[in-house]
């Protein structure tokens, strides 16, 4: 039985540079930075005192207070973006076969704030356990997909992938596989993360993973720049409605693009460091191209993982040259993390949306904050530094790599009208 085709019919975004897909795209194409001093807690004693926070969000506009207080922020974010995506897709829930509608979500960590608050309350008490009955259901990462399935009455497969910063892409590939196998007609996929917390910042600081450019937060995320010094922690969410092509066509849905391939690999090397020669990155891009049945020369744009860490950016650029050969120099490459910061388990979701919007508009969003060339990188690689570039995009690839050596890539193709 041949695989079914899978298309994207709805999008939702909540990011440090825009709280809807449209606002997000406006920020991306204009090259806006979402970084600023941390407002969520007093970061005075932390090595890093800034992050890319979601701004101006009134959760109660979207979720009644009574329901919202039983959700960690990462689950609230999931609900907000899923609502936007379901609405964008024009889904009539009364007309769907709900047993073939699923939710496969991604989150690298889950309810970190909830965990911190509850444990702190216990640790500062007299030893009497007074854990809130909602502690565990709020904290566990799969609560996001559970909440979404309840909200829309989707009776199909429902779970959350936990593969660090690759979680959302992992989720999309799983949803893609279920739909092309005919096991689902439609899935809400994507990811959400809300780790700008004391433990989140403190923990990543301890790993020396974060930029410490406290005197200039908005220029701190500078992927592929010589003076990059680590990633900038971000938060937010992205949702994508994945749908079987004929199902989408039959209901007259708007189609953003087709998801044509998913790549999966493991570094099998180190729990946090990338493989120095980008072995896992090479394998995952090759696997994605192979799955999509296209050649390297067919790709126009790569939205890279590019977190602005010294090692990670180098190994990814090396991997691109190995996989794409001469065509590497014809590609547009950009790291939108230069603007959004690193949304960890949600990164793959908002970066997939960046790819889809880039295809839709024929505009490649930039890698902002480029000040100094790094001689490590071949000058013929086009990282789309500082300003967006116009370019018709037929095929875009998005990379995400996670601590633990998890690598996932997805490839989208514009449908010919």
């Amino acid at each position: 039985m041949p695989f079914k085709r899978v298309v994207i019919t709805g999008l939702g975004a909540l990011t440090p540079i825009g709280n809807t897909v449209q606002e997000f795209w406006n920020g991306l194409s204009a090259g806006v930075s979402g970084a600023g001093p941390i407002t969520k807690f007093n970061a005075e004693k932390f090595r890093t005192k800034f992050a890319c926070e979601v701004k101006g969000l009134d959760v109660n506009q979207f979720i009644p207070r009574q329901d919202a207080r039983k959700m960690d922020p990462f689950a609230q974010y999931a609900l907000i973006v899923a609502d936007e995506a379901v609405k964008d897709a024009g889904l009539d829930l009364t007309k769907l076969d709900l047993t073939k509608a699923g939710v496969i979500w991604g989150s690298g960590i889950g309810g970190l704030k909830t965990f911190e608050d509850e444990v702190k309350t216990y640790a500062t008490g007299d030893g009497t356990p007074r854990y809130n009955p909602f502690f565990i259901p709020k904290m566990i990462a799969d609560s996001a997909s559970g909440m979404l399935s309840i909200r829309y009455g989707f009776y199909g497969v429902n779970y959350v992938t936990v593969s660090a910063c690759a979680s959302a892409t992992n989720a999309m590939i799983d949803a893609f596989n279920f739909i092309r196998l005919g096991r689902l007609n439609i899935a809400i996929s994507g990811g959400s993360e809300a780790a700008v917390t004391e433990a989140g910042v403190g923990g990543f600081n301890a790993l020396r993973a974060l930029s410490e450019r406290n005197d200039s937060p908005e220029t701190a995320s500078r992927p592929f720049d010589k003076d990059r010094d680590g990633f900038v922690l971000g938060e937010g969410a992205g949702a994508l409605i994945l749908e079987e092509y004929e199902h989408a066509k039959a209901r007259g849905a708007k189609i953003y693009a087709e998801l044509i391939g998913g790549g999966m690999s493991s570094d099998a090397y180190h729990i946090t460091a990338p493989h120095p020669e980008g072995l896992g990155a090479v394998n995952v891009m090759k696997d994605a191209l192979n799955d999509a049945q296209i050649g390297p020369e067919d790709v126009d744009y790569i939205n890279v993982h590019g977190t602005s860490t010294p090692l990670g950016d180098f190994s990814e650029a090396t991997a691109i040259e190995k996989v794409f050969g001469e065509h590497a120099y014809n590609l547009n490459i950009s790291s939108t993390k230069s603007m959004t910061g690193h949304l960890l388990g949600a990164a793959g979701a908002i970066e997939a949306i960046a790819c889809l919007m880039a295809m839709h508009h024929g505009v490649v969003p930039p890698t902002i904050n480029h000040f100094t060339d790094d001689e490590q990188f071949n000058p013929n690689l086009n990282f789309t530094f500082n300003e967006a570039q116009k370019r018709p995009i037929s095929i875009a690839l998005s990379n995400t790599f996670g601590f633990g050596g998890h690598n996932f890539s997805v490839i989208f193709r514009k449908l010919e009208s």
Binding site: P64, Q66, T128, R130, N132, P133, F134
Partner: protein
């Protein structure tokens, strides 16, 4: 209204998101005020915290209405 009663009502309004007018002494947490089993556990914990007492499980099981909570607390809070 006793101090205990007004505090109990305030906790229920806050935790269950109901109108104060709905919180009558006869109102059942689950049947009238929309609480599920976890909400009920949370309410008992809030009462314990607010009034600085410990309510044993076998006692907590008998607290199903607003009035039962008020009566229990009035009898047991020092």
């Amino acid at each position: 209204m006793s101090d205990i009663k007004s505090k109990v009502i305030a906790i229920i309004v806050e935790k269950l998101g109901v109108e104060e007018s709905e919180v009558t002494m006869e109102a059942s947490f689950t049947n009238d005020l929309g609480a599920d089993s976890l909400d009920t556990v949370e309410l008992i914990m809030e009462f314990e915290k607010e009034f600085n007492i410990s309510i044993p499980d076998d006692q907590a099981e008998n607290i199903g209405t607003v009035g039962q909570a008020v009566t229990y607390l009035e009898e047991n809070v020092k």
